[in-house]
Symmetry: C2
Subunit: 337 residues, 2 copies
């Protein structure tokens, strides 16, 4: 089966390549192609199952209808979740997405960006991993639009949509306080990342406002399971053993649970826990975990929307959006009186 092309259809129908192209792009009227021609060509295209070469099309029009999506790690349910949304939203609007992960490594991130540029993607939606936005900023300014999700930069013009992590940090902490906890530890993720910073800030502010400045305890280095595990080990064996732990991601939570289990302690009865991120299986844990849920659906959908606006010419709008999180109350926090 030889690949069909405008040329092969042209030969078989007798019409010129340009006419075929115009008909197949719905430009028949504009160019006053006769009804007869339109019918003949359409029929033949359908018959031979013609699919245009998007390579050639992209080369000629400088538009590929493709978006790049860069996340930190596909295997993290939070990111696979958001990828899911982005991919479907993009498809909805006629775009295909190329998914890549940076493994939270700046060098890989650059490689990935370059690879996407080589492929002439029309735009990039990314969870950035570094501390320096300049590389992405330059791309955004000189090449193609970039929209950030989850992580973002404060002093950068790069548009983003993320969760109001500060508010999320506050909500969790206030929830603990309302139930009598005041020895609350916070296990954070990658410290310079905006989500971690903001969640921590929310936690700290609430503690301070409650006059518990001396009880503030923050540790952690990244969003890995291992980090959650190690930090919890330390916490449980320290003198200032907390009565509550605020884990800043679902991965940290899993690690923390492992450490808690190993200590023979029971979540809620012995130590209370609130986590960040939502996930079905959290309802099936023992006990079900109270958590701060991010609006991933809205984040993904908005990111695509913003991207499409950029692509339609409204460049550099510098949109910055923070969506409110939601507290999902389950059964991992005790009442202390």
């Amino acid at each position: 089966m030889k690949k069909e092309s405008l040329v092969s259809i042209s030969k078989r129908t007798g019409y010129s390549i340009s006419t075929i192209s115009r008909v197949l792009n719905g430009q028949a009227e504009k160019y006053r192609i006769s009804k007869k021609a339109v019918e003949l060509i359409s029929a033949e295209a359908k018959r031979c199952n013609y699919t245009p070469s998007l390579l050639a099309k992209g080369l000629r029009t400088r538009k590929t209808n493709t978006l790049g999506l860069i996340i930190l790690n596909i295997d993290n349910p939070y990111f696979s979740n958001i990828s899911n949304i982005v991919i479907h939203q993009a498809k909805e609007h006629g775009y295909t997405v190329i998914l890549a992960d940076s493994l939270e490594n700046e060098h890989d991130e650059r490689d990935v960006v370059r690879s996407l540029l080589s492929r002439q993607v029309d735009g990039i939606i990314a969870v950035p991993c570094g501390q320096d936005p300049s590389f992405l900023e330059e791309i955004n300014k000189n090449s193609i639009p970039i929209v950030l999700i989850d992580r973002y930069y404060q002093n950068s013009g790069l548009p983003f949509v993320s969760t109001n992590n500060y508010q999320g940090g506050r909500m969790a902490t206030e929830y603990f306080l309302a139930r009598g906890h005041y020895k609350i530890a916070c296990i954070c993720g990658t410290p310079y990342s905006m989500p971690s910073k903001e969640r921590v800030r929310g936690y700290s502010d609430v503690m301070k406002e409650a006059g518990l400045e001396s009880e503030i305890f923050i540790s952690g280095e990244d969003f890995s399971i291992m980090n959650g595990y190690l930090e919890t080990k330390l916490l449980l064996n320290s003198k200032k053993k907390p009565t509550a732990i605020f884990t800043l991601s679902n991965t940290i939570l899993l690690g923390a649970m492992k450490a808690i289990n190993e200590s023979g302690l029971k979540i809620k009865d012995d130590i209370s826990v609130i986590s960040f991120d939502n996930n079905t299986y959290l309802d099936y844990l023992n006990p079900p975990i109270t958590r701060i849920s991010q609006p991933t659906d809205e984040i993904g959908t908005l990111a695509v929307k913003i991207m499409l606006q950029s692509l339609e010419g409204n460049r550099d709008m510098g949109t910055r959006i923070l969506l409110p999180p939601e507290l999902i109350e389950r059964d991992s926090v005790s009442r202390i009186f």
Copy 2:
């Protein structure tokens, strides 16, 4: 920043486009390009940060170094897990992958395949969703190589790599029997899919061999959480209430757990459970779930390997691989005496 191209470099260095191309492709020796030229050109290419247009390259060479990966649903951890492997393995060998899901819908699957063909992917790795392999077979025969993973077809030449699901079905059932269970229900997924069929066959065979033909109980219609929930509801309220349930996927398990929780029953003490698929969080469920784990790493890696072999010319090898599953023993099965 004007996009750089062979032309722009050509103009600036004074060398012809072909010379630039050959130098940048490492063909300098083969074409006896002078040292001086090689150095000049390489330097300039680096200086202006040249990245070749993969569109043009693909158009010219009919090779895009891109693979299509079609799965059923990105949001399912089993699939995101396997996607992860495939994406990284492909990258390892210089390939980019375009990820798409069919939402387990034959119509969408066709659309997705066509879209990938339009993009001139070099090959497709897919979890197929229909019962009729003919569409994919035709592609495999006439256009580009296809490698199936997870699901496959018995009477088809399409190569595949999957788990030995039959063996997995046997292992779970034998495990139950060895602990005194004989009223074992099996909640299956999409009935015509090979994984479900084979797991069920393993279950049935062991039951028959144990003389428990009359106790065989199979139900279920797909791999959804809802299916697991509804079927378990029915089971728990039927007269022939089982003492053990074999859920054929992680999703079915979650649904089953919900139903069990709602009945006020406790897994293990009141009803034993073994599931298919592995996942970190299963260790944190209450209780941790004994399960049949699929070797997703190996499946993904082999799928890419087979694909690469195909692409290197060894077409139509019709490789068919079933890898052994592994029983991960946790604490969701009681002993009955």
